[in-house]
């Protein structure tokens, strides 16, 4: 159902993304007065080419202008995307490169001083590749100066998140000079989160303040605001406040209240990390809960089904980019002829939002490709082994080795790059507990696929058949159910779920030939602890293992100890309850 919806919406998506692309291709920003922009452009050129103290003054001036053009160029500068063109007359012209590249990987250069394209003496537009030009110099200190200018610009940004981040950064600048700028902004600010950030920033800056009274007020303010970032500043202040016992006590009280706050933040953070790790385990193990749990196939190739999903995501990403090609020559020959085959798929060369949406297409396609692989595996091998679990272990293990070698031949032995779409990179904060988008995404993703599986198994005719066949294949066969077909579809569905896991794992980890090996043990562990044959058990066991792992990691302070303790706990638990959380009698266990 879900997939049908996605495909139904495809044309609409396409038109929207294309429209966005067209809009962003227009060269320069409108709306600012041309003469003002020109002055700023000259100042930017001086800042990029000049050095030392003059640079700071210029950057301050640019920052006060509030210009959108300046923000764009300054952030290009920190990304090392401002290049220096050595003109034939000996002068140096700073430029940025247009994002649109031609076939040779070169693009037109945009002059920073007038916003036009760079031309040679005859008026021909010059084109450059990224490595043809030297990037304008930056170092950490300069990056910070630029960043500060950007932050001042950002204080008046339209996005409240950006304003908040800007206020926080200015607070740590330790430059009291920002206080008036921040206060001016505070008067205009409406957003409560941004207001809090500005208050903290002002108080932090005033800690160094001109008088003890101002300092005291600032300390009280920070304690009331529970500002984690101020802890270092307050600790330093406590160490230097010996001559003022009253201030010292106040500072110490503030530190205590902030530390108390940090403990709560850690508590909720750990809880969230636990749930997200549990969700990853769940996503990874759910497919196995079907192929191993319900069907009783000890499926050692489950990990490779995950890898199929991950590589599908990689291929889709490349199709949205510059295309995907491979060619392999088989390591043997027939009749003296070497056998080689290959594939060359042209890319869409998408950019912007359209490119970022590749992942939405990759999710259903990962499901389909892994399901197809599972279907072939079931027809070719597993259907002959339903009554021989140990042989199915060996056969699927063999398949897993073969698949790994195929990945190596097609995609190379190295890991491949999968870049996360921007909408999965980033986070939002709930009272200092930071929630990464990709982690929130996996929790939602886990909920959706568990719900989907539940609906399929308990609310559809196919689900009824699946349950019947899993409970007693012979009896179901006698009742007229085509058990072979149901087995095939069930195995394909379980493999498809593994493919979905792969699509998600490509966003948080490595994609390589041995990807599956990393997760196979975790998958079996989750299913066994949950109780073989019971999907609800897998859900509880995944969340339980995830949370226990993160809590123990937090308590012991070491990533390894947490894992060891939870594995030991699992061994003891299985001694106590060999059938797992929800022991269940089924065909596979008889």
């Amino acid at each position: 159902m879900k997939f049908k919806l996605l495909f139904g919406a495809l044309p609409a998506f396409l038109t929207v993304f294309l429209a966005v692309r067209a809009a962003s291709a227009a060269p320069s920003a409108a709306g600012e007065s041309a003469s003002g922009t020109n002055v700023i452009r000259q100042e930017l050129v001086q800042a990029i080419l000049g050095g030392g103290g003059q640079r700071q003054a210029l950057l301050d001036k640019i920052a006060d202008s509030g210009s959108g053009v300046a923000a764009g160029i300054l952030s290009a500068w920190t990304m090392q995307e401002v290049y220096l063109y050595a003109a034939p007359d000996g002068s140096t012209i700073p430029v940025t490169l247009e994002s649109q590249q031609d076939a040779a990987g070169t693009s037109r250069a945009i002059r920073i001083d007038d916003g036009g394209f760079l031309k040679d003496a005859s008026g021909k537009e010059l084109r450059f590749g990224q490595s043809d030009l030297n990037a304008a110099y930056t170092n950490i200190r300069l990056r910070r100066q630029i960043q500060q200018a950007l932050d001042t610009l950002a204080l008046s940004a339209a996005d409240p998140q950006a304003r908040r981040a800007a206020a926080v950064k200015l607070g740590y600048s330790q430059k009291p000079g920002y206080v008036p700028i921040l206060e001016r902004r505070l008067a205009k600010e409406r957003d409560p989160a941004v207001k809090k950030a500005i208050h903290v920033a002002i108080a932090t800056l005033q800690l160094g303040g001109p008088s003890a009274a101002v300092q005291m007020a600032a300390v009280n303010e920070l304690a009331a605001l529970k500002s984690v970032g101020s802890l270092d500043t307050l600790t330093r202040l406590a160490a230097n406040a010996n001559n003022n016992p009253q201030l010292e006590n106040r500072v110490k009280a503030a530190i205590n209240s902030i530390q108390e706050h940090i403990r709560w933040v850690q508590f909720y953070g750990t809880l969230f990390h636990g749930i997200s790790v549990g969700s990853v385990l769940l996503v990874v193990a759910l497919g196995l809960a079907i192929t191993f749990g319900l069907m009783g196939v000890i499926n050692m190739a489950h990990g490779e089904m995950i890898a199929v999903g991950a590589y599908t995501t990689y291929v889709i990403q490349n199709l949205f980019g510059s295309g995907f090609a491979f060619s392999i020559t088989l390591p043997f020959s027939i009749g003296g002829k070497a056998i080689a085959f290959g594939l060359n798929l042209p890319g869409l060369n998408a950019s912007g939002w359209f490119y970022q949406s590749y992942f939405l297409f990759a999710i259903p396609l990962s499901f389909l490709s892994a399901a197809l692989a599972g279907l072939l595996l079931e027809r070719a091998i597993i259907q002959f082994l339903y009554r021989r679990p140990l042989e199915s272990l060996l056969a699927t293990w063999g398949v897993s080795l073969a698949l790994q070698q195929i990945f190596r031949m097609v995609f190379g032995a190295n890991n491949v790059q999968v870049s996360s779409p921007n909408w999965l990179l980033g986070h939002f904060s709930l009272d200092d507990v930071s929630l990464d988008y990709n982690r929130v995404f996996v929790v939602a993703f886990a909920i959706v696929i568990v719900l989907g599986t539940w609906i399929l198994l308990s609310k559809t005719p196919l689900g009824l058949l699946i349950r019947a066949v899993m409970q007693n294949r012979d009896m179901a066969g006698c009742m007229g159910v085509r058990t072979g077909r149901v087995n095939m579809l069930t195995f394909a569905f379980g493999s498809g779920l593994a493919g979905l896991a792969g699509a998600f794992l490509s966003q948080i980890g490595n994609v390589g030939p041995s990807l599956g090996q990393t997760y196979i043990v975790d998958s079996f562990m989750t299913v066994v602890v949950g109780g073989v044959g019971n999907i609800a058990g897998t859900v509880y066991s995944a969340l339980g293992i995830g949370t226990a792992d993160q809590v123990l990691q937090q308590l012991t302070g070491s990533p390894v100890t947490g894992k060891i303790v939870s594995l030991v706990a699992i061994i003891l638990f299985l001694q106590w309850k060999p059938g797992g959380l929800f022991a269940m009698r089924s065909r596979s266990l008889d």
């Binding site: 950064k169 997200s276 070698q405 870049s419 999965l424 990179l425 980033g426 980890g509 990533p559």
Partner: protein, 429 residues
């Protein structure tokens, strides 16, 4: 099975090629790297670079000894990422093939396993990959970056840029542990309080710090808590992360760093095990502005480097050794140091006028064996460490580095821990 068979044929054909060279006026040289197993991804590139260097030396007249010109005859063996096998193969090279010199090893543990063999048979090993120091053998020439040629310059640069808090994070084995302990002591010496060094400490019974920093196993993937910890550590500003994570754990680590919004201007990450070759399989758009420190970057704009890269690309097009990948190749510091090693050895042999290890060592120890390589001048010191340029670069979106700082001609120091302990004691710390 097929795979092993293939490897074996590839190997035999390399040896076969070697045997076709006329027997007189050649000198056998060993190449001991992992061509299979987990380390093959990194080490195969060093084999390729060495074959290039040997071809280049042979084509320009070979090695001149006693008025005769000798061609290099490489004997390539596979350590297969298996440390005891490394020792076996070293023995084979020295006792059966009687090679004049061996270029090889990547991990410190492989170096430690071949060391007794080289010392017993009086062989000579050129070692090219950044390492933890704290070792000095008469039978090894360390062209690699010692700690004070990578980690220490990087920290100096960060201190100079106003960084006041350092979070130490690495993979759990000898190189990161030793490097971080050295850095911990170095930071104390430079006035950084232990509270401003993140990652945690392990102390022995007498309260002395014996390990600093946070460690994860190889191939670790869940960095949520560590990054949350870093975020809190960096909340007060002026913080950085010293990253000695090895291998593919770097991908989940950097993805988590980006997701948590830790940008390079807020909290830069300086990595010691990520060079151009490793960056090929990492989404580099997440790493723009993060730092690296090596004695060579492919993006160096010297005429020597341009010439070197041009010849390397030309060689890749024309060579026909089995197993050398021709597409998407990059050069990084361990490769460049392997190349330098070949020329340093040639220089030393020509000066000694003999291939005899003792004579060559005497020449090397004189302190005036040097080579003007792609990264600048590299000189063998009397203690068989090397003096060379060190560069700091920031990562670009295309997986290359923009060089931001150069430390010219840094002298390699073998025993950092001891000298730092002495300095700390002198200061009463």
């Amino acid at each position: 099975m097929k795979k092993h068979f293939l490897k074996a044929t590839a190997l035999v054909s390399v040896l076969g090629l070697a045997l076709q060279v006329p027997a007189q006026d050649t000198v056998k040289v060993g190449v001991l790297h992992s061509l299979s197993g987990t380390m093959a991804i990194s080490e195969t590139s060093l084999r390729d670079m060495l074959l290039f260097a040997f071809d280049q030396i042979n084509d320009s007249g070979g090695i001149q000894v006693g008025g005769k010109s000798y061609k290099i005859d490489p004997v390539v063996v596979d350590g297969a990422s298996n440390w005891p096998l490394f020792a076996e193969k070293a023995k084979e090279l020295l006792e059966q093939d009687h090679v004049a010199v061996v270029f090889g090893c990547w991990t410190s543990v492989s170096r430690k396993s071949v060391l007794p063999v080289f010392e017993k048979d009086n062989g000579l090993l050129f070692y090219p990959v950044q390492f933890e120091g704290e070792e000095q053998s008469r039978n090894v020439v360390y062209t690699a970056e010692a700690v004070n040629q990578q980690a220490i310059p990087a920290v100096d640069y960060l201190l100079d840029q106003g960084i006041k808090k350092f979070y130490l994070l690495g993979t759990d084995y000898v190189y990161p542990r030793t490097t971080n302990l050295i850095l911990y002591k170095y930071l104390l010496l430079h006035g950084i309080a232990p509270a401003d060094i993140g990652g945690g400490f392990v102390k022995n019974d007498s309260g002395q710090v014996i390990s600093a920093g946070k460690y994860v196993p190889f191939s670790y993937t869940d960095f949520q808590q560590i990054v949350a910890d870093i975020k809190q550590f960096a909340a007060g500003g002026d913080a950085c992360v010293i990253n000695t994570i090895n291998g593919d754990s770097n991908v989940p680590f950097f993805k988590e760093i980006v997701a948590a919004g830790l940008t390079p201007d807020e909290c830069p990450v300086v990595s010691f095990s990520l060079a151009e070759d490793e960056l090929r399989s990492i989404p580099t758009k997440n790493l723009v502005g993060e730092l690296g420190c090596w004695s060579y970057f492919m993006s160096l704009k010297t005429p020597e480097n341009k010439d070197f890269l041009g010849k390397w690309n030309g060689w890749l097009k024309s060579e026909n050794y089995p197993g050398v990948v021709k597409e998407h190749r990059v050069v990084d510091s361990p490769m460049e140091l392997s190349y330098d090693g070949a020329y340093l050895w040639k220089e030393a042999v020509e000066k000694a006028g003999s291939f005899d290890v003792d004579a060559v060592r005497k020449a090397l120890d004189s302190g005036d064996i040097s080579f003007n390589g792609p990264s600048g001048k590299i000189t063998v010191q009397p203690d068989q460490y090397t003096t060379k340029n060190v560069y700091i670069g920031t990562t670009l979106a295309n997986g290359q580095f923009e060089i931001v700082k150069q430390f010219p001609q840094v002298v390699g120091q073998p025993w950092m821990l001891k000298s730092l302990d002495a300095q700390l004691q002198a200061k009463g710390m």
